[in-house]
Amino acid sequence: MVAKTLGSLRRPRKLNRSFTVSFILFLFLAAFGAFMALPLVYAVNNAFKPLDELFIFPPQFFVNNPTTDNFYDLVALMGNSWVPLSRYITNTLFITITGTVGHILLASAAAYPLAKYRFMGSKMLFSIVVMSLMFSGHVTAIPNYMVMSWLGWINTHASIIIPSLAFPLGLFLMKQFMEQIPDALLEAAKIDGANEYRIYWSVVMPNVKPAWLTLMILQFPMLWGSDGGNFIYSENLKTLHYALGQITAGGIARAGVGAAVALLLMIVPITLFIISQSNVIQTMATSGMKE
């Protein structure tokens, strides 16, 4: 009798659902999953459609005769233009990689003391960072421009890269994640004679790899999709997203090429997320805000 009760207690208990409820939930998830996924599937299909399929009536969702013509056209089109496509890609890559790597380095350097030590101003600085999560960048757009022009950074890549290095969400997530590093580990390193910088670099950083990837997945799409905003006006400094705008402004004749660029813009962040998903979820588990 007792054994039986214990057995029923020990069994991993899961509250069961009736078949109908499960079925309704399945339908619900499938319907919304389709709502989320179809535009992206459509974007992928579009990039491989020949011109006649792009303009067929009534419009077709899936591609019938997939072709890579659009990508060749894209290369040909941009090869003939004043600024070659490779230039836009290089610019975007440069901005994205420097911005992302720099952000991870600076945010983790700032997060380590905030997560592990109490010192004068540490609480205040962190609460300012949390507060800045509560308003968007639009609030500071105008003074930002003034600061930029005062620094002489207008029309340089620095105007996009440098502000993105101090993106507050990155510091917040990094700090929350670092809090779970055991203090014993840091003390052991200290006893072994490591200084703070050494501890940061060789003890803390290798332990927060999931958080690196999370910061990357948040920062990367932002910079990858950046169109240069109000800061960049020289054609040779502009980004891929800006080029997409110009191509699609070409209208109907450029529809295929536009679809190809859209795929190019979209596929990179999504691939990165697929690679890093489990790490990102691990970091997000510590993302909570304390009251």
Binding site: L9, R13, L15, F28, L29, F32, G33, M36, P39, L40, A43, F57, P59, L106, A107, A109, A110, P113, F119, M120, I128, V129, S132, L133, M134, F135, H138, V139, T140, A141, I142, P143, M146, V147, I162, L165, A166, P168, L171, E196, Y197, Y200, L218, P221, G225, N230, H241, A262, L265, M266, I270, F273, Q277, I281, M284, A285, S287, G288, M289, E291
Partner: protein, 318 residues
């Protein structure tokens, strides 16, 4: 004499204390100097591009400033003009609140609901569904696809579909008709809104202590709703707070989607928001003082909404 000694004692007490306090601060700073050095690059940039601009924006909102002349102090004039004399701002304010009140809570609950359902699937399917729901928010500016869906001619998917099945005879101008603009922007905004907070919720659900659920079962929790309210939600309250901040801030900042779908300015300002109003005065009319007043109002609204929601969320599961 008594007083003399007392005052002497007092000064001798106060004076060294003052000194020791300063030296204490100095010592503290010196002792922790490595931490300040580690934080300095980030904090320098953060203050330069976030904190100082906020302060500057508040200061500028009390001036007349056109980027050429030195700012001239005008007191509350910008604010009185904003709230009493600017009809378009009132439209922007109404639209922004419409977006925020609908897309904010809906996206928040959607994030949680989908995370909750997805959490019960097997790991492989869970990873796939997470990708499906999260992908739109990182796929950059692919929301232009919706331009094709809502296109005003017969090639638009929605028009094509409705005409094919006989719901309408002539194509509807979805994006230039005031009646539809707001709804369409909200739909697209919702499509894009399962972002960081969605991931935070999934992570939060996966890390809930299993023993809590078992203990709850012994304590008489009978169905999933009770489990949700008494165990799941309270244990992930920190994530709920974090998610709320992300969703609220995003829902008040709608602008890019409105501009991409409905144009700038949109027909009769039907898709006009506080942010597009800010862009109008900041980047087109160059009335920087007035634009700063708009930015300050936006700042107060966002901060206020966040604080209010946090107070509400503290009551979850109580």
């Amino acid at each position: 004499m008594q007083t003399e000694t007392t005052s002497q004692v007092l000064t001798s007490l106060i004076h060294p204390k003052k000194q020791s306090r300063l030296s204490y601060i100095w010592k503290e700073l010196k002792r922790n100097k490595h931490y300040y050095v580690l934080m300095s690059p980030y904090m320098l940039i953060f203050f330069l591009f976030t904190v100082i601009p906020v302060i500057l924006s508040i200061v500028l909102s009390f001036t007349y400033f056109n980027m050429l002349e030195f700012p001239r102090f005008v007191g509350w004039q910008n604010y009185s003009r904003l709230f009493l004399g600017d009809d378009v701002f009132m439209i922007a304010l109404r639209n922004t609140f419409m977006f925020a009140v609908i897309s904010g809570p809906v996206s928040y609950f959607a994030c949680f609901l989908f995370a909750w359902i997805i959490n019960e699937l097997s790991p492989k399917i869970r990873a796939f569904m997470t990708l499906v729901f999260y992908a739109p928010s990182i796929s950059g500016n692919v929301f232009f696809i919706w331009l094709i869906v809502f296109s005003g001619d017969r090639y638009g998917y929605l028009n094509g579909f409705l005409i094919k099945y006989g719901f309408i005879l002539d194509p509807i101008q979805w994006l230039t008709n005031e009646k539809y603009i707001l709804t369409i922007i909200i739909i697209v905004q919702l499509w894009l809104s399962l972002g960081t907070s969605f991931l935070a919720f999934i992570a939060g659900l996966q890390t809930i202590d299993k023993s809590l659920i078992e203990a709850g079962a012994i304590d008489g929790i009978r169905n999933r709703w009770q489990e949700l309210w008494f165990i799941t939600l309270p244990s992930m309250r920190p994530q709920l707070m974090f998610g709320a901040v992300m969703q609220i801030t995003a829902s008040f900042a709608v602008a890019d989607i409105s501009i991409a779908l409905a144009g700038f300015p949109s027909v009769n300002y039907a898709g006009h928001t506080i942010v597009t109003h800010l862009m109008d005065y900041g980047t087109i009319r160059y009335e920087m003082g007035y634009a700063s007043a708009i930015a300050t109002v936006l700042f107060c609204i966002m901060l206020g909404a966040n604080k209010l929601t946090q107070n509400l969320l503290r009551k979850v599961g109580e």
